[in-house]
Symmetry: C2
């Protein structure tokens, strides 16, 4: 049986890996729609190679260019948010949701509302709109399959289990480049040092989040919504080798863990083939060569972002939106050389302390709280770091 | 819903742990039958505590004593092999098969033939009669749930997977007390050194098997029959901490592992509650405190028993019976101080080389090959170690 899939964010890293897998399994997958933010050249290339029937560029000003690039193909060009929503809620049953940032919220919600199976690689969807998304999925019958390696690991470990049998989830964290660094070293860290992630090749923003461990804090919030477990039943464990991608402890004391090489094609393949599996060219895990796996408790003093994220999760409502938006603004400032690494957590804490929004009732509310928080964070930074 | 269970081998370690779990969950389990080899005092005690309706002592000469001990209870006393088979094929739906050694073969087969769910703790059933048992289970619809921690781990990791999605199984091995010892040290090892297992508290025979790694070789054979995978898709990985109990690699490159503290109540609980789970008092795994997990390839030179077991598996037919019987005889001689540790593998190799039995067609055939091999091994030892 051929699965029809739409790839939202087809020109990014997740989109490319998805296409790589699909191209190796042409009999099983048919790409119906592909989207991108602005890069029409890459999008048109993907559309041609995949045989998609619809290609959408979010940036409406690039419509004419896209249309021209697709002349002579059977792929229709489209642009703008409504076209993105059309791609998300169209005839594909499986939606790869890999749009980066809050720009992904409405398309993900459109796919969820349409009852699709959503392979979710957009972090903001559950961090900022977790309750809205999971409520909508319960209503429409949509299935959310996490693509992030940690949550995908947990999803794999939970396969076939009853919720009542789960005791806790253990999210593993690499600990980032400053795992063994002193508070002083961390305070003096340059952007170049912060983006040097030990195990995964990632973008600058997410690399800084990995250095502060805010990344793991955001994943904690995602895990809460994905797996419907309270904060106190989601632990974080530092594991520098990132071989164990996460674990689940059951009521009998048994722990299941998912392990693998650092290749995003593994979790993407799991989401593509679920509830079955598909072959991938990912390197096989060779534990005899890896030889050692280490584990330690996270240090909530040096990595206070973790503590802040847990506080935001426990406070609920709009707090995770504020956490995420303030962090994004602060990370951008850090990367621009305007603030020091520990200032990120400080600014996030201030943003949380100074906010008291009602819980969002729509994606519109989420986007508004996100926008206001970004503006306020900029203002705070302008005030504190002249 | 109350599950009716029969415990074959109720007075041994597995039997006691099973009773401990059942006593903590009286609403969910009803013990209908218990059996023991000879210890009627312990058996009568277990029968009274569990409220079993049938207590069977294998040794017929102990019948009168058992009957007298059960006077005034509603538990019927019985003795001998037919009574054991009655307990195995009676009204319990779940049979805990924990009789040690080849004495367990007929009772396990009776439970399998009766289509029961068999929680299998008897190693010989699959090592010596694997094809017979799995063929009989396919015919009767019986389900075999492995209780051994390694196979139980694999069973947990496989939950809900299609056979086609499995790439290989990775059995972990502690490496035993001589993991880092030189061949010379191993050759000079005393029985006391050999039975000092680093992680699990076990009987003397199985501790020696753990020291030679024959234990893992026997588990390799069991895994072949339990999970229907060829020898080349079952790997062995040394993991001294015995925290990871075993793993499964899937075709996408993903590896699932089951971890836990060294408490047999965890796999027993899984077998009791399957396909659900039950709470146990087993200590929770604390990886931050454990801190390090190590892995290395097994050394087939110092631990040639592993190589012999794989050869026996690949040869098939009666070879695993010969391997097991010759090993048991040789281990007894080693424990009695008559031979050195490396002589065990040498004697097993000789027994394999000198045997050419047809594949067994019945448990009777298995028991006959087992008996003849034991006699021949004794004769070989008498000849070589006067």
């Amino acid at each position: 049986m051929t699965k029809k899939i739409a790839i939202l964010g087809a020109t990014g890293s997740i989109g490319k890996s998805t296409l790589d897998l699909v191209e190796r399994n042409r009999d099983s997958y048919q790409v119906t729609a592909v989207t991108a933010a602005t890069n029409v050249e890459a999008l048109a290339d993907v559309a041609r190679r995949s045989g998609a029937k619809l290609a959408v560029v979010a940036d409406e000003s690039r419509y004419a260019d896209l249309a021209e690039l697709l002349v002579g193909t059977s792929c229709r060009a489209a642009a703008g948010e409504n076209a993105l929503l059309e791609a998300a809620a169209g005839d594909a049953g499986l939606i790869i949701a890999a749009i980066v940032g809050c720009a992904g919220l409405r398309p993900v919600m459109a796919a969820v509302d349409a009852g699709k199976t959503v392979a979710l690689a957009n972090k903001e969807a559950l961090v900022t709109a977790g309750a809205l998304m999971t409520d909508a999925a319960a209503l429409s019958g949509a299935t959310i399959l996490p693509v992030d390696s940690e949550h995908n690991a947990i999803f794999q470990c939970l396969a076939g289990s009853r919720a009542a049998d789960v005791s806790r989830i253990i999210l593993t964290a690499s600990g980032g480049p400053f795992r063994t660094a002193s508070a002083e070293t961390i305070a003096a860290a340059t952007p170049a040092q912060a983006v040097a992630h030990p195990n995964w090749s990632m973008g600058a923003k997410i690399s800084v989040d990995s250095a502060t461990l805010m990344n793991k804090g955001l994943e904690l919030i995602e895990a809460h919504y994905l797996f419907n477990l309270p904060s106190e039943r989601i632990d974080i464990l530092v594991h520098p080798q990132s071989v164990v991608h996460s674990m689940v402890e059951f009521v009998d004391g048994s722990v299941l863990a998912q392990l693998g090489s650092a290749d995003m094609r593994i979790p993407i393949a799991y989401a593509l083939a679920w509830p079955e599996r598909m072959e991938t060219p990912a390197q096989r895990l060779d534990l005899a060569t890896i030889a050692h796996l280490d584990f330690e408790a996270p240090d909530l003093e040096r990595f206070s972002a973790l503590r802040l994220a847990r506080e935001a999760l426990e406070r609920g409502g709009a707090a995770p939106i504020v956490l995420n938006a303030a962090n994004e603004g602060a990370v951008a400032s850090f990367l621009a050389g305007a603030i020091r690494l520990p200032d990120i957590a400080r600014l996030v804490q201030e943003a949380l302390s100074n906010s008291d929004y009602d819980a969002p009732r729509s994606i519109g509310d989420v986007l508004e709280i996100d926008r206001v928080t970004r503006d306020r964070t900029k203002a705070m930074m302008a005030a504190s770091c002249p």
